[in-house]
């Protein structure tokens, strides 16, 4: 996605390697890089996560913060549900071309992709539970993602971080009181319980999908492409898969080529298989991250140094 300029010789080397089944970092075609995850390190947010895909502390790095806000209902909006508002921003610290308005296109693409996955029944999150009083007040979940470093496969890392952040999110409890006036009309009011102990998790967050992005290089395709591999990618296909291995979203990217229909159905099958492994891996890493104490983290390259 971020444009890395490679010489034709380098491009050829990577392409032919992948066609023969070799990748620069020794992975197989459908293997993923190491993932590092930390959750709930932003105290001001309702939930947060930072995820990095890559080896030895270098890799795509995404930070996601969730903020829950109460919003009043306006005519024309859905009556009985809350919404999720997504925003993805690529930091200029990640790549030089993101400076100024350079990241605008990528921001829009990622924001809309995230919105398409999260905002609807396919996300698994029960949006009707985010409604406080129908036609009056509802919760808005702001999902704000900051891409801190780009080393290939942004979408998958973004989705890992978002899923972890939403799973670790808690919103304040609200108490709704309804009163009847003399005309028989019901008036409802609500109070936000201002107690850190008394918070509720988001319902249905465990059904959130994960994405698998395939990059077509030469005659083969690979998963979790590195920065160099993305530079020679001809077409990209992102598939969002739910824990029940249903397909929640499909999106193609890449300007160079398309997929033949037969390859597409093969990729969809592979996506489900990979997603199944991904969910198992996510659960392991997420449980470890949410139970880990910041003090007793091992000081290896695979943890986040310094920040937070």
């Amino acid at each position: 996605m971020a444009s890395l300029t490679l010489s034709p010789a380098e491009q050829d080397y990577i392409t032919r390697g992948i066609e023969k089944g070799f990748r620069g970092d020794g992975r197989g075609g459908l293997d993923r890089r190491e993932v590092t995850l930390r959750t709930n390190m932003i105290s001001q947010a309702n939930g947060s996560a930072r995820c990095r895909t890559g080896y030895l502390g270098i890799g795509t790095d995404v930070l996601v913060g969730i903020k829950a806000e109460v919003c009043s209902w306006k005519p024309g909006e859905p009556e009985d549900r809350g919404t999720i508002v997504c925003n993805v921003e690529c930091s200029p610290s990640a790549a030089q071309e993101f400076e100024g308005r350079g990241a605008e296109e990528l921001n829009v693409e990622l924001t809309q992709l995230l919105d398409r996955i999260l905002n609807g029944p396919q996300s698994g999150i029960d949006l009707t539970k985010l409604c406080i009083i129908p036609k009056q007040d509802y919760w808005v979940l702001h999902v704000d993602a900051l891409v801190l470093d780009v080393k290939g496969s942004i979408v998958d890392t973004l989705m890992w971080a978002t899923r972890a952040a939403l799973l670790s999110s808690k919103r304040p409890k609200v108490v709704v009181e309804s009163m009847k006036d003399e005309d028989g009309n019901v008036h409802s009011e609500f109070d936000v319980v201002d107690d850190a102990e008394d918070q509720v998790a988001l319902e249905g967050a465990e059904n959130l999908p994960l994405t698998v992005t395939f990059n077509q290089i030469g005659k083969r395709y690979v998963v979790d492409a590195s920065e160099q591999e993305e530079a020679v990618t001809q077409a990209r296909l992102t598939v969002a898969v739910s824990p029940q291995t249903e397909i929640c979203a499909v999106q193609k990217g890449g300007l160079m080529r398309g997929f033949p229909p037969s390859l597409l159905s093969e990729i969809l099958q592979t996506a489900r298989r990979i997603a199944r492994e991904e969910f198992a891996r996510f659960n392991d890493i997420f449980t470890a991250a949410s139970t880990a104490d910041a003090a007793d983290e091992p000081s290896t390259g695979s943890t986040f140094l310094g920040a937070f």
């Binding site: 296109e105 809309q112 160079m256």
Partner: protein, 270 residues
Amino acid sequence: MSTNVVDRRRVNGPARSVEPVYASTETADPFAEGREDGRALDQVRPIFMKTGPLSAQESELSSSATASAASGSAFYEQGKIRVSCAVYGPRQGRKSNARMGSFDCDFRYAPFSCSWKRRSHVKAADEKEISLMLEHAIAPAIRVEAYPKACIDAFVTVIESDGRAATIAAAINCISAALADAGIEMYDSVAGCSMGLRGSQWVADCTQAEEDVSSCSALLAFMPSADEITYILQHGKSTPEQTDQAVQTCTNLCTRVYAVICRYLQSSLE
């Protein structure tokens, strides 16, 4: 008439009345009786197209200088959807040292084009994204290596829309025709098609009303002669089998739409 005079010769109804409650006629499948406009499930709306409306000599509108400057243009109608596209280029690219040409697309809804709300003049996030989607869908068809240092720009205006995904599909077809009109070198024309999932059935080319009740929508752009899917977008939950089925049906429909585009382009040369 005075209100306290009561007509005693007739039976007077009560002063206030309420609508009777009818037994529910709703069936499990609200679409069992077929589609509103009588189409088959896999039938797209009738297509009308014309190339060169913005640069044609016979058109009275051609006096507008900006419009006739386009290298190629097309007008596309599919049911209520009306899309126009102007293609400029190949012209001087922004990157002067590029080995390959670039294709840029600018997609806009006219302020009055949507039924649900007035569109703002400021480019919205979804318009930016659709511009990107169109670039991704069309660019694989263009022989960019034939245009070093050059760029090709397509400006798409939606005059009327009916169904989000269907409008994007119409835009793809419209750009294809406009690119052909401009004489841009391409591997193949791209045809677009959209579908919505209703219950467990895929319905082709959904109108806005149909799209509102469908649980999943799919959009596909396909180059039939090259046998290549240049773009796919699915929004909503489906089983893998359903996605497979959507891809299959959409490619078939794209082939049919492609035939319409090709037939028109051929006849426009005669």
